[in-house]
Amino acid sequence: MKEEIIIAGFGGQGVLSMGKILAYAGLMDNLEVTWMPAYGPEQRGGTANVTVILSDEPISSPVLDKYDTAVILNQQSLDKFESKVKPGGTLIYDPYSIHHAPERTDITVIPVEAMEATFELGNSKTYNMILLGALLKARNLLPDEAVIRGLKKTLPERHHHLIPLNQQAIDKGRDLVK
């Protein structure tokens, strides 16, 4: 098993932390993982992206030009990464902030109304967790238990009371993928 994933959006949307939870969940599932952020001032409002690789074998490059799966949170990121998804790969995006929908037909394109779902959940901070749920379902990536353990590792102790809410958001994301 090897899954090469790019998660991309605006800084502040939870791109890096979503990648981090995914990486920790991979660790909990005894996979090899790399988490490589585009770091720097982008974190503060510009574009942000992170490459996460999950594999049951040692990982060579943490930097990629082709991805199995892209999780796209804004238009700039779609413009940049749509062409970088491998043929037969998967592109998950939130139509909320996209005005030119993906056009490729050789990949599986999955729109996920994550922003709408945050309104339902009444908490905008669950946004990235909804997309994470969609990713886990669409790619059948990791057992739930590993993801929750990953969450616990990522969240500081004082925020552990938010785990049920995050779980709810992940479930919501799963439901949004048919």
């Binding site: 990486a23 660790l27 988490w35 770091y39 720097g40 060579s60 490059s61």
Partner: protein, 363 residues
Amino acid sequence: MEEVKLMKGNEAIAHAAIRAGIDGYFGYPITPQSEVLETLEAEMPWRTTGMVVLQAESEVAAINMVYGGAAAGKAVMTSSSSPGISLKQEGISYIAAAELPALIVNVMRGGPGLGTIQPSQADYFQATKGGGHGDYHLIVLSPASVQEMADFVVEGIDLSFKYRTPVMILADGVVGQMMEKVVLPPFRPRRTDEQVREQCPWAAMGKGDRKHRNIVTSLELDPAPMEVNNERLQATYKRIAENEARCKEFYTDDAEYLIVAFGSIARISLKAIEEMREMGIKVGLLRPVTLWPFPTKEIERLSKQVKGILTVELNAGQMIEDVKLAAECKIPVHHFGRMGGIVPNPGEITHAFLSAFPEAKQN
């Protein structure tokens, strides 16, 4: 069972330092390595191992604190990124000249000047050819993974004491900022002052029961003894060159071409090689683990086997000079590099290789 953790390369440096029994860390914040100092301050090792952690007023002060701690026989280190390492060069020269052990970490960013905070390998010359003034070398370790960031802290400080010479971990922003699995080194206690006194009879730590005073200095105005000092340094470098050159080879057994790359770029190159192998092109990878001493013998050996070499570096072509010397102009050696903080992806490297050796594809 060993505990597997997930962390950034910079964080691994900090945790490994505490576990390695480092006595003192002196640093100054600079992107992309500030997590080293941040992690140490958060871990508060002065409460557990007794390790001293101090945010200095500048990189200049930090390296001189390292010089002071090393002169007193302690296991000390600093970390910074390219512009900060430039500031440290004076102190590094003094540490080398005074034959002191110390560990210096450079998480390279793009230059010259203030440059960019994105990854780079443009400090290769500075690290391997001296950096500061005078005839000296550092042992230069080049980590390619978070695991090696941790491991090289232990190996680096041990090498520095073995040869009484400063050791540099020359990392890049990719290895510093990425998260990976890591098994941290086991805890080993800091040496007691008595052990330091025994292990470092030269240390200026207070005379204690010693009859004579210890003086740590790099000054010798009389040229004749100064030349003797230099000859002693050069003898040490010769021993290091003979014993410590290290590299890793991948797919070299049947290789017809060779890529030489270090640090994170070696891993990106490996991915490109895997893709090229699928195309039927027999490319191998040699990754120097020590940049000084350079694995000259291994490259010389492979240069008799392969038809050509491509060096891939995050700079305008620095390590290529050492590769060319090793290959002794017998086969073509080409360079592919990106500068200014741009990290090439595997596809670019494949493209660069095929541009350099178009005949490789036809075979």
